[in-house]
């Protein structure tokens, strides 16, 4: 698992070996390669940036250039054991539709996102009155790809509204896991394992 970003390492450690996996927003394919090489998974990817797709294919990975908002519709129901959406939910046009699609095409879904209710974000708004620019939200408001900010509390509420089962969740602060208590305040970053 060495070399994987902590959130990706957590996901990789919790994927059953040999599974069929779709990694949506797979970037340069780091997680895909780890799942393929270390976990014997059959992995496919989707990525919006053509330079990243080229890099993935050059690494021997099956990745399509596509958009989570549009291109998930073409996969059949239950095509994968896991659909993974890491750090991408907040960039989609309709996160609710994307989540429903994940749970349609995957038996389970890993979803990770930066928590907009982390205390640094809150402080930035409260004291500075400015949109936060933090380690996980590094881009200014006018050019950020993050168009649907979400907090852990929002996400939990969404799951219960939609009747989606949370099988497991992990919370990260400074790349270390933190407890569930006060996660909405203390965690920079959340990972959920979901099931319909």
């Amino acid at each position: 698992m060495s070399g994987l970003r902590p959130d990706l390492a957590l996901i990789a450690a919790n994927v059953a070996p040999g599974s069929r996996v779709l990694d949506i927003g797979c970037g340069d394919g780091t997680l895909m390669a780890a799942l393929r090489d270390d976990h014997g998974c059959r992995v496919q990817g989707m990525e919006i940036d053509p330079a990243n797709v080229t890099e993935c294919v050059a690494k021997g990975l099956s990745v399509i250039q596509g958009d989570a908002d549009k291109d998930l519709a073409f996969y059949p129901d239950g095509a994968f054991d896991y659909a993974i959406l890491s750090q991408t939910l907040q960039t989609t046009m309709r996160p609710d539709h994307v989540l429903e699609e994940l749970l349609r095409i995957g038996a389970r879904a890993f979803v990770s996102f930066p928590n907009f209710a982390h205390w640094r974000v809150r402080l930035s708004l409260l004291w500075g009155g400015r949109m936060p620019v933090t380690r996980l939200l590094p881009v200014a408001w006018y050019e950020t790809p993050n168009i649907h900010h979400v907090t852990i509390a929002d996400f939990r509420a969404f799951l219960s509204e939609r009747g989606i089962t949370r099988e497991q969740s992990w919370f990260l602060s400074g790349d270390k896991q933190c407890s569930r208590s006060a996660a909405n305040f203390r965690a920079e970053h959340a990972i959920f394992l979901l099931k319909r």
Partner: protein, 368 residues
């Protein structure tokens, strides 16, 4: 200039007649082909490269008719993305062509050239002939089949209808269904040929007259569709050809006119007009969905191959949307597929030209 009939091509004659989609049968069938790189003892390293409409089997060696390097010399060879140190590369002239495989200029049973008596063929018929060639060569599985444009259609057809043969299918700048706009452009080309009085209903062989003017116009029209506006503007703009002012006549005043005239006339010395009619007809008939009950995804239902599909952002002849249709059909059957739209300024011709990202994709996909 030498014609294909005068050059020594490597070829075999198929032992059986070829049954065609039209219901007709073609015999005898000669397939002219070239190979590059050694076939491994287990025969597991064969890569079939399928050529585009006006291509030929000389993918990586000098073309004996034009004397020019192979049409994909930059992609196929020692140390290149389709590495002949690793792979045994096979490229065959399609049936209906004019570089040694049986086509309209070949002699029919009565000893006269077929001309328009040659049966109308399809992309699948071209692939049938190549599958028969592989059989004669003792090759049952392909490490990969690779093709751009009409070559990509052949690669798709092989993957769909002979799913046991290719392990990887690489399709560049192609489509599963020929769209109306492309059918339309090709009809212009065919009309230019058949309107030339020298065409003589296709029976021009041995008359000393060939429909060169018509074929040249067909090539000029087609050539425009292979380029992008950006590449035409970059290459020629409105610059004048060897003159300082417009002639107020109908000479090739503009460089772009002169270039197209040259492309047209040089094409006639290496290509047979009737072959052009037959090959473009085959492309306009190509509809992989129609061949599989109206649903493109059905075409791939039995496929076990990995697919890789590449389009180019400046290719308006086979735009990215057509590639996406293929990707979605492959997604629907859960096939492992890669797809990327590469940025390149050269239009449809990008697949033949210097696009480093394409090299990376081809290298990576063939090593998957």
């Amino acid at each position: 200039m030498a014609s294909a009939a005068q050059i020594a091509t490597r070829s075999i004659v198929l032992p059986e007649p070829l049954s065609l989609d039209s219901g007709q049968s073609l015999a005898p069938v000669t397939i002219a082909y070239e190979t590059y790189g050694k076939l491994a003892a287990d025969k597991g390293n064969a890569v079939l490269v399928c050529h585009a409409t006006t291509g030929d089997q000389y993918v990586a060696s000098n073309n004996p008719v034009t004397g020019k390097p192979g049409w994909w010399d930059r992609m196929v060879g020692s140390g290149k993305p389709i590495d002949t140190d690793r792979f045994h590369v096979i490229c065959a002239n399609v049936i209906g062509g004019c570089m040694g495989s049986t086509g309209p200029a070949s002699l029919a049973e009565d000893g006269e050239p077929y001309g328009m008596r040659f049966p109308v063929i399809t992309i699948r018929d071209m692939v049938r002939a190549q599958v028969a060639l592989l059989g004669e060569l003792g090759i049952e599985r392909l490490h990969a089949v690779v093709g751009g444009s009409m070559g990509g259609m052949q690669a798709l057809s092989l993957g769909a209808d002979w799913p046991e043969i290719p392990e990887r299918v690489l399709i560049i700048a192609a489509t599963g269904t020929m769209p109306a706009q492309n059918i339309a452009f090709q009809e212009v080309g065919r009309q230019a040929i058949t309107a030339d009085p020298n065409w003589q209903d296709g029976a021009y062989y041995g008359t000393g007259k060939a429909p060169d003017a018509g074929l040249a116009v067909a090539r000029m029209a087609a050539h425009i569709t292979y380029l992008s506006e950006e590449s035409l503007t970059e290459k020629f703009g409105r610059r004048l050809q060897d003159r300082k002012a417009k002639s107020f006549g109908f000479d090739a005043d503009f460089q772009v006119e002169s270039y197209l005239r040259y492309q047209g006339s040089s094409f006639t010395s290496r290509f047979d007009a009737n072959s052009y009619l037959y090959l473009t007809r085959a492309m306009s008939y190509f509809d992989l969905a129609e061949e599989h009950g109206g649903l493109l995804a059905n075409a791939f239902a039995k496929s076990k191959a990995r697919y890789c599909i590449v389009s180019f952002d400046s290719d308006w002849l086979y735009p990215t949307e057509l590639s996406r249709e293929l990707v979605h059909a492959l997604n629907a059957v859960g096939a492992p597929v890669s797809f990327v739209e590469l940025s390149a300024p050269f239009g449809h011709d990008s697949f033949l030209l210097d696009v480093p990202a394409l090299d990376e994709v081809v290298t990576g996909f063939l090593s998957q």
